[in-house]
């Protein structure tokens, strides 16, 4: 959690969510559910693909349900930098 790289990525992720789904940044707390943000599961997966592309990351092939924003942060934490 204290890894500075993670903090940077989380902030970038929040900004991307805010822009893509038109949600105020202050609502993007770790415990808020994606459902409460009005983001359905398919839209989220689609969005995560864009995140991978834009941030140059590769997420693990995971089946963990992404219920809260904290779950999404955790996925980002596990991501590796994509080989060029």
């Amino acid at each position: 959690m204290s890894d500075p790289r993670n903090e940077v990525l989380r902030n970038q992720l929040k900004e991307m969510i805010a822009e893509e789904f038109k949600i105020p940044l202050e609502k993007l707390t770790p415990d808020v559910t994606m459902e409460a943000l009005g983001i359905d599961s398919l839209s989220l997966i689609d969005f995560m693909f864009d995140v991978e592309d834009k941030l140059g990351l590769e997420m693990p092939d995971s089946r963990t349900p992404l219920v809260t924003l904290g779950d999404v942060f955790a996925e980002i934490d596990k991501a590796t930098v994509k080989a060029k």
Partner: protein
């Protein structure tokens, strides 16, 4: 609730998104003016000849929300726009709205969300194969459009998708008609949608050697049904949806009645997968006439399947002669595909709507691009110019499909 008596069925709403305009009014005016909706395609795949198609020019954000636009395949977007107009139409001037809550959705499509599938294949085969969009399956599946219509209008009746190639949406309308007629439901949204103007699919059609060869100096005239110099069909996209209701229910809520549906024939050639069969087509038209309890002489206009293929137009001409006998030579028959192209799974619906427009406004839509008829095609095809001011009581629409799945619909003045 199943009502064992047989109930008259009527059309109370019509919605259309087509190469001839994106609402009923512009579509009707285009039919009357003999306009062509065929144009050169912008995404020319490498091929031997110029590619043309019946393209829907539309800005979806004028009709739908961003959330829908970003996650639906074009085929479902077209269907939603057409369904919206049909529902709005059904409620205009009525004292109470159509009871959509228990309505069925009966939709035809030939190939569903093929754009999503082609995009996915391009990712898989041309790039790293790991970037296929998570929406691919739900965009591509054939019943996506019916599902979206049901969700949009909260229709909890049966939601059925028919995929019988070129007759898909005629089948959908016919089956919806019977479900109401026999009391299974009171109301249905029925029609068809297709959005197949994508390179791989066009190439697949081209490989069948059935696509028209367009004249470079006049590409809009590429589709020439019944003409001596016809070269094949022109692919097109679009959607047409109608609201069907039991007549008593529609009258009770003060709805405008566009027409009655009076007959439906569904018959299979069971001979050859692609070769049209005059006997099968004859049986289909006769089945529709039987259900409508009409003599052939009562039909005032036939909207032909008329694809402009070399074989198809002659076979249909012969089938019409078998059904109508001597009357075939004076019965007006036209192929509106000459104007809007071949919408495949949606073509039965758009052509039935063309027949409904003719019935309601008492005109005969033309077969355009018909300078010199094929000697083997010797009926009155309403060549080139619409005939206004006629009087129509009953009209027929033919849809004959690959797979030998044929459908014929008859509508009558209300």
């Amino acid at each position: 609730m199943i009502n064992s008596s047989i109930r008259p069925v009527c059309v109370t709403g019509i919605g259309i998104v087509s190469p001839l305009g994106n609402n009923l009014n512009s579509f009707t005016r285009a039919l009357q003016s003999g306009q062509s909706g065929i144009q050169v395609l912008s995404n020319q795949p490498p091929s031997r000849s110029l590619r043309v198609g019946g393209v829907v020019n539309i800005n979806f954000s004028d009709y739908l929300g961003l959330a829908q636009i970003s996650i639906l395949d074009r085929v479902s977007l077209l269907a939603l726009v057409a369904a919206s107009e049909a529902v709005q139409n059904a409620n205009d001037h009525a004292s109470s709205p159509a009871a959509l809550n228990q309505a069925g959705v009966y939709l035809g499509t030939g190939i569903g969300g093929i754009q999503a599938l082609e995009n996915a294949y391009a990712e898989h085969f041309l790039r790293d194969g790991k970037r296929i969009k998570p929406f691919t399956v739900v965009q591509a599946m054939n019943n996506a459009s019916a599902g979206h219509i049901a969700m949009e209008f909260k229709c909890h009746g049966p939601s059925l998708t028919y995929s019988t190639a070129c007759s898909s949406s005629a089948m959908a309308i016919g089956e919806a008609y019977r479900a109401i007629k026999h009391g299974y439901i009171d109301c249905a949204l029925a029609g068809g949608t297709e959005a197949m103007l994508v390179p791989g699919t066009i190439d697949a059609w081209d490989a069948l050697r059935t696509l028209a060869i367009a004249d470079a100096d006049n590409p809009a005239s590429a589709c020439k049904p019944f003409s001596k110099n016809r070269t094949g069909l022109v692919l097109a996209e679009g959607a047409a949806v109608i609201v069907l209701e039991a007549l008593d229910v529609a009258l009770k809520r003060g709805a405008t009645i566009y027409a009655l549906i009076s007959g439906y024939g569904s018959h299979t050639d069971a001979k050859h997968l692609t070769k049209p069969d005059a006997d099968g087509q004859t049986a289909t038209m006769r089945a529709a006439l039987r259900e409508a309890r009409l003599d052939p002489g009562a039909i005032g206009y036939v909207n032909a399947h008329g694809t402009a293929t070399l074989a198809g137009d002659v076979v249909e001409t012969n089938a019409i002669k078998q059904v109508f006998g001597q009357y075939a030579h004076t019965l007006p028959v036209s192929s509106t595909k000459s104007m809007h192209g071949h919408l495949m799974g949606a073509t039965g619906a758009i052509e039935f709507v063309a027949a409904l427009c003719a019935l309601r406004e008492n005109f005969l839509p033309p077969t355009i691009n018909l300078a010199e008829p094929d000697p083997a095609c010797d009926l009155d095809y309403v060549a080139n110019t619409a005939r206004m001011g006629v009087s129509l009581l009953h009209v027929m629409s033919n849809s004959f499909a690959f797979g030998g799945s044929n459908a014929c619909l008859i509508a009558s003045a209300s």
